[in-house]
Subunit: 324 residues, 2 copies
């Protein structure tokens, strides 16, 4: 019998390699500020060679969300693929030490564990160049029997759509979620990722996902509009619950006819990496603990504020103490 | 022709694995607070299993000192042994990205690159459990031709004395320093390290080293006394320059008849890891740039204050801007 989970997340298992650089550095390496660019190993190594001294901490969008749920005291699990190398050891150690049940294959040959090279500019914004490595090889066999069935909500990151092999695994997960009568949640991840997968995302949101997370840019990209209100109406009509982050303007959530706006929690912004991931953690924790939509949004705002107040995409504080 | 260096440091090449834990954790793993304990791989893995999520940053006492000298704008080099693994890649990337000329062997088999598991308690103090790995295999062949001869000061960490193989390399370095008419500097590293090597350290300080760094506990351990003034007189009689750190009381330096006391620079203490290493960097930078003993001590105090204001043992700021 599999232990029940509040939230199971599925995504790329990555270790973040974080350095502070000026905006000129982004031009030098040729990446768009605030975006996430997938790079091959050669490009990743070229960027790393140019980067200053770095801090390595475990990351990965959906993995960060699982850690956030656990930091609120929730039961969280994560599925993602790593390799049996030192970076993979870091990743698995950190997520398990955070109290998350970590599943997914560990490859013994082939590509190394994935890394995300994160450049934090003086304005605290983060620009990411991700080498997926082993994460790129997520497959149906990585989904343990019974785990999806045991999770009240299963949450998938949009980044996975850049990996053809992962799609079969996600379809399998979706079928199991539906068969168990559980909820299926999704984050659009990145506006360029939306751009690469628009038709598929729209179809899945309409037919598969119950809960959708996005930020303003991702949502506007999805509907190819500059009109946020129109985009928000568009997404709200297609799923049960939607939660959209708007940076310093806070967030807006909708469930059926109910709409709530949540102000951003005050904080000193040091590094915005993980803000969306931790916002999702707070909302998912709230939704799985009988909270109102507004309370769930407030949990999201508090978790996001915590993670942007320091370097790294995972909370360094027990989030329960911040709520109290 | 080898590029001239202000400071060449020799020590253990280590990546720090840092986690915040309560004092009870230290009892659980059975280590003495504020100490550095050498552990074998099995013990290292047991401690890592028990540790919470961690941050990985490059460390190693003498390596941190070299990075500090570079952060002041000095020409710095480092000699230490790593392996051709991911942790070794982190180490070499970070020290070179900091502007330090990195030398020393890279082993292709045998032990992994060394790691120091650092537990930061709520009072900001650090307790270290170090698995030396490849660092333990430093040997004469790791010293590039001409590098010691090109450095105004060569600085050795006391931790190296725990490795029998390294002693031959240090003797060779000492001979080359003397033949070139350069200066030889030393840090006592840790009071337990002093305890393990007292006679040898006293002999080397008397006959080999020109400049000696210590903290209060290390100095008192060296002379097996509780009387700091007596210990300070003892060390001062045995070498040209001595610099002793006294935590929040600041530091005291002596050169011949000259004695100066330097107050600690004000800062919020987050993590004391690297305080002594960066203090040494400031003093060595001053001494190699024609500064007075007092100015050199002030550079040490400023560098130490910077590094204890954040997690990690290397500066995140250009130290020149702090001096200005």
């Amino acid at each position: 019998m599999v232990q029940p989970l509040d939230v199971l997340t599925v995504g790329n298992a990555l270790v973040d390699v974080i350095a502070r650089e000026n905006d000129e550095f982004l031009e030098l390496v040729g990446v768009v500020k605030n975006s996430m660019t997938m790079v091959d190993e050669e490009t990743a190594l070229r960027i790393y060679d140019l980067m200053g001294p770095a801090t390595e901490v475990s990351g990965g969008s959906a993995a960060n969300t699982a850690v956030g749920v656990a930091a609120f005291g929730g039961n969280a699990g994560f599925i993602g693929r790593t390799r049996d190398d030192q970076v993979g050891d870091f990743f698995r150690h950190d997520i398990e030490a955070a109290g998350v049940r970590c599943a997914g294959g560990i490859t013994t040959e082939g590509l190394a564990t994935g890394r995300s090279y994160i450049i934090v500019t003086p304005d605290a914004h983060r620009t990411m160049c991700t080498y997926l490595g082993a994460a790129n090889q997520l497959e149906v066999a990585d989904i343990p029997t019974g785990l999806v069935e045991a999770a009240a909500i299963t949450y998938i990151e949009g980044y996975l759509w850049d990996q053809p092999a992962a799609k079969d695994a996600i379809r399998e997960i979706g079928d199991r979620v539906a068969a168990a009568g559980n909820q299926f949640a999704f984050t659009l991840s990145d506006s360029f990722c939306v751009d690469r997968n628009r038709e598929e995302f729209l179809d899945l949101i309409e037919h598969r996902f119950d809960i959708v997370f996005a930020n303003e840019a991702e949502l506007c990209s999805l509907f190819q509009t500059d009109d946020f209100d129109a985009a928000f109406e568009g997404i709200r009509a297609r799923c049960d619950v939607v939660a959209v982050t708007r940076s310093e303007k806070g967030s807006i959530l909708a469930r059926g006819e109910e709409i709530v706006e949540i102000p951003a929690a005050p904080t000193d912004v040091v590094d915005t990496t993980g803000a969306g991931d931790l916002y999702a953690a707070g909302v998912l924790f709230g939704l799985t603990h009988g909270m109102s939509l507004a309370e769930s949004g407030q949990h999201g705002a508090i978790a996001a504020a915590e993670v942007i107040s320091h370097v790294g995409a995972r909370p360094v504080t027990d989030l329960r103490t911040l709520i109290a």
